[in-house]
């Protein structure tokens, strides 16, 4: 329907767009081997010195550990609450049904700083103190909607007939969930959980206001060291490592969508 010229123009824009998308990431990777402390471009000499330096950085290591725990905690909360909300919305008719998704969307639609200071204020009023637990609470506010969205889409597509059939055959509410609904829902929950973990792992704004002093997630550690010139090469290596490791969730997500499409 399109003639050759517009097709070529579109292809050129596509290629240029992808180039712009990947260029900055490639430069971070190259710079992690740049022997210059100030990343003089083009690099005159390459070295692996910064990588070994970063590997030994205790600050980066403990920040990584905190980030993983926070991500796992927030994902667990999001999986439980998101699945429950998705069931309530998809399987029952009630007056506030449409508002639930809207409410769950709020923490992600409102700027992170709003969620951040609201929670910071609430924790201060409640006197809970700050630490890993408050980070998890903060992160799960915006992670719930990711699981909810994925589960909701799946539940709507499945419809209720299989569950009805299961109950007609004498299975109880739990059995039906365990043997019928959950297996069908599993990949959607995994996808939602993966998204939730990735978002939590990457989050900095809400974290800034819920972490308190002394507790650092990886993004906070990066941000704190970003403006220190002598830390720059190590920060760059951590950034490069994060780019390399972001392949893992992509691989998982791809495998997942592969298995569901062959279903």
């Amino acid at each position: 329907m399109l003639t050759t010229t517009p097709r070529r123009v579109l292809a050129a824009v596509m290629g240029l767009g992808l180039l712009i998308v990947y260029l900055p990431l490639a430069i971070v990777l190259v710079n992690s081997f740049n022997s210059s402390r100030t990343f003089a471009w083009p690099p005159s000499e390459l070295t692996t010195h910064w990588w070994s330096q970063a590997w030994l950085s205790t600050g980066a290591r403990s920040a990584l550990r905190t980030s993983i725990f926070a991500g796992l905690g927030a994902t667990a909360v999001a999986l439980v609450l998101g699945t429950m909300a998705a069931f309530a919305v998809s399987r029952y008719r009630w007056f506030g049904r449409e508002s639930v998704s809207f409410l769950l969307l709020l923490p992600i639609a409102l700027p992170g700083i709003v969620t951040g200071i609201a929670l910071n204020n609430a924790f201060r009023v409640a006197g809970t103190g700050f630490g890993l637990l408050t980070i998890i609470v903060g992160h799960s506010t915006f992670c719930v909607v990711l699981v909810d969205n994925n589960a909701l889409a799946r539940l709507r597509r499945l419809g209720g007939t299989l569950e009805e059939a299961s109950m007609d055959l004498g299975a109880g509410v739990w059995q039906t969930f365990r043997y019928v609904t959950f297996p069908l829902l599993r990949s959607a929950l995994f996808a939602g959980g993966l998204l939730a973990f990735a978002l939590s792992f990457d989050e900095i704004i809400v974290t800034t206001f819920t972490a308190g002093a002394g507790v650092r997630t990886l993004p906070i550690w990066i941000f704190e060291n970003l403006f220190r010139p002598n830390q720059a090469p190590v920060v760059n290596v951590v950034a490069a490592a994060l780019i390399v490791f972001s392949v893992v969730p992509i691989y998982l997500a791809q495998r997942l969508s592969g298995t569901t499409s062959t279903h």
Binding site: M1, G17, V21, L81, T115, A118, A171, W174, I205, N236
Partner: protein
Amino acid sequence: MDGGQGLVRPASTWLYRHTTARLLALLSLPVLWVVVAYLGALATMLLAAFWTTNSFTGAVEHRLTLANFRTLVEQPVYRSVALRSLGVAALVTVVDVLIALPMAYYMAKVASPRARRLLVVAILTPLWASYLVKAYAWRVMLANGGVVDWLLAPFGTHGPGFGLTATIVTLSYLWLPFMVLPLFAGLERIPDPLLEASADQGARATRTFRSVVLPLLFPALVAGSIFTFSLSLGDYITVKIVGGTSQLASNVIYDNITTGGNLPFASAAAFFPILVMVGYLVAVRRTGALKEL
């Protein structure tokens, strides 16, 4: 199989018979979470906006006043920061639409199914890379003598350096996939025969785009703009990393909390992005854009 023993089966039967109880049990935790933890915290913060701080001790005084809002509205500094933030968010959205539209169009309507799948992965991949890392990458690229300067040197010019332009560039880069993906999904849903029919009726490509594609694509466009606009409006990190000395609305909130310790004023300042975003969401709810998210 289990069940039929202890309390499991009776509880199951009871739940099966009482639909409302099942619903309430399912709703209890999520609603408690959202209403108590989130909305409660939000409400407390919004209430704090009407408090004030003692100008000598800095202690919060729980006395209702509009003083914070008066300062925000009357001081020209805050007015210009608000306008600048809206301008940056709008510009980022426009830039992203202009780049994302041809890319999404190519993916949905030109590329072969195999290439399409690869392109979707190629667009999705950077989303998994850390936000901070990407903003940092632009700091390195835009730095004095960095890659951008090096690339532009043959043309006898240099990069914008750190500032508002760098902020807009970096934010557009960060949120681009959030615009490409909804547009791609929206375009993919427009059946090809519709475009062919339009061409058969004598419409040129631009006319087909304007009269057929754009109206059908509008909800997806709005869905993408929710991301680009809201994310830009709430950002204070990118502007700190590449913005030089420029300030956006969220910096006012951030600075008043961290260095100023003035929660009431920060809360009052937080009304601005909240009102803008809630207004935006309510306005676009009728376009059906929220279902595209």
